[in-house]
Amino acid sequence: MGQAIAFYTLAAFILGFAVMVVSTRNTVHSVLFLVMNFLFVAALYVLLGAQFVAVIQVLVYAGGIVVLYLFVVMLVNLKRPPEAHQDAHRHGAFGFWLSAAVLIELVVIGIYGYARPAAPVAAVAAVPAGGNTEQVGWLLYTSYLIPFEIASMLLLVAMIGAIVLAKREL
C-alpha cells in the first residue's frame, strides 16, 4: 500500500517535471526541470531497491551530464527562430497524428510485451549474495563483460571526437 502511494507520487512528479521540460519558454528552466526529473527517477530506483543505480544516477546523470548541458545552454544564447512567434499551433495536425502513433505503439508493446521470449543471458555466473554494488559489479565483470568494454570504448571514442571537434589546431 505504502509502495503504491510512493510510486504514484513519484510518477506524478516525474511526469509533471517532464511536461515542464518541454513546455517552458526559458531553456535554462527547462534544464533545471530535467534535473528535478532525474532526481525523482533516482528516488524511483531507491523504491525498487536498486540503491547503487540510484546514487549513480544522481552522481553521473544529474550531477555530471546535466551540468554540461547547463554549460552549453548558458553559453550558447539560443534565440527562438522568427517563425516560432507566429502561430503556436501551426504544426497541430502533424503533432497530433505523431503522438497518436507513438501512443498506439506504446499500447501495443505494453500488451504484447509479456509474451516475448526470455532474453538469452550467456552463462550467468553465480552472483554472490552481497549488497547492491557487489552484485552489479559481479554481473558487469562476468556475464556482461563484453558490453561493458564496448561501452567504455564508445566513451573513449566520444571523448576523442569531442576534442578533435573542439580544438582549433591539432
Partner: protein, 340 residues
Amino acid sequence: MIDTVVIPLLKIVIVLNATLVAVTYMVLLERKVIAWAQSRLGPMRVGPYGILQPVADAVKLMIKEDITPVRADKWVFTIAPIISMVPALIVYAVIPFGPKITLFGRQVSLYITDINVGLLYVVSVASVGVYGIILAGWSSNSKYPLLASLRASAQLISYEVAVTLTLVSVILMAGTLSMVGIVNAQYNQHVWYMFAQPLAFVFVLIGGLAETNRAPFDLPEAEQELTGGFHTEYSGMRFALFFLAEYANMIVVSSVVTTLFIGGWLPPFPNTPVLHFLYYVPSWIWFFVESFVFLYMFIWLRATLPRYRYDQLMRLGWKVLIPLAIANLVATGIVKVLVS
C-alpha cells in the same frame, strides 16, 4: 514506531542544529585563527574574546536590504543559495559520529543512517551542490558573476573526478561503500587508512580544498580578481546562505576525511590493549576532535598559502591528480591481490 521514526527525527534535529551552530562559529574561528597567524587578535569586542561575534554577524546580515537585480531571473536567483546549502546539510545523514551505544537503556547508533552506498551518496550529493554556484552566477544576469561561476563550477567538476578516483582506492581497501563499514574495516585491519593509503589521504585533502573553494584554490571567490565571484549580486541573508554553505561544506569534508582516513570514532591505536584507557573518552568526542584538527588545518592553509592561478589549478586537477589517483588505484589493486 519509536525506533523507526522518533529516534531518527531526534537525531536529525540534533545534527542539523549542531551543524548550523558549528557553521556559524566557524566564521569566528576562521577570523580568529587567521588573526593569530598574522600576529593580531581578531574580533575581541563583541562579547568576551569576541565569542558573540557570529551573533552580531547574523543580525547584521538579516537586517540588510535584500536586493534582487532587476533583470535577474527571480526564481533561479532565489533558489541558488538554497541549492548550495541543502547538499551540505543532507550529507550528515550518513556520517557516523560513533558506534552503537546504550543510552537510557536503548541501543542507539550515533549516526542517522547507514546506507550500503554511503560514500557514493556523499560524492553524488556533493556533485549536486555544483548547481548552486552555476545558477547563482547565471541568474545574476551580470558579467563578473557569470564568468566566476563558470570558472568555479569547472574547478568543482574537475576535482570531483580526482577525488572520486582517489576514494575508489580507499573503497578497495575497505571492501565496502558504507561509512560505518569503512570505520569497522579500519578497526579490523588494525591500521588507519591515513597510513595505509598516504597518497590517497593527501589527494583527498587537496581535492577537498578545491571542492569547497578554499584557499589556495579560492580563485572563484577572490575579491581581488572577480569582484566577489559568483555571489557578487547577493546581499543580506542570501549571501549569508552561500557563506554558510561553504563552511558547511568544509565541515563535511573534514568529517568525511576523518571517517575515511583517521578511523572516525576510533581512538588512536584502537587495537593495542595498552591504550585501552583511551576508550573512556566517548567515541563522538574523538570524532569531533579529529574533525576539528582538519578544520583548523583548512584555515591554517588559507592563512599561509598564496592563491593558485586558474590555469595552474586546472592543470593540477587534470594533469597531476587524476593520473596519480589512477596510479594509486592500480597500485592498491596489485598490492591487495598479492597480499591476500
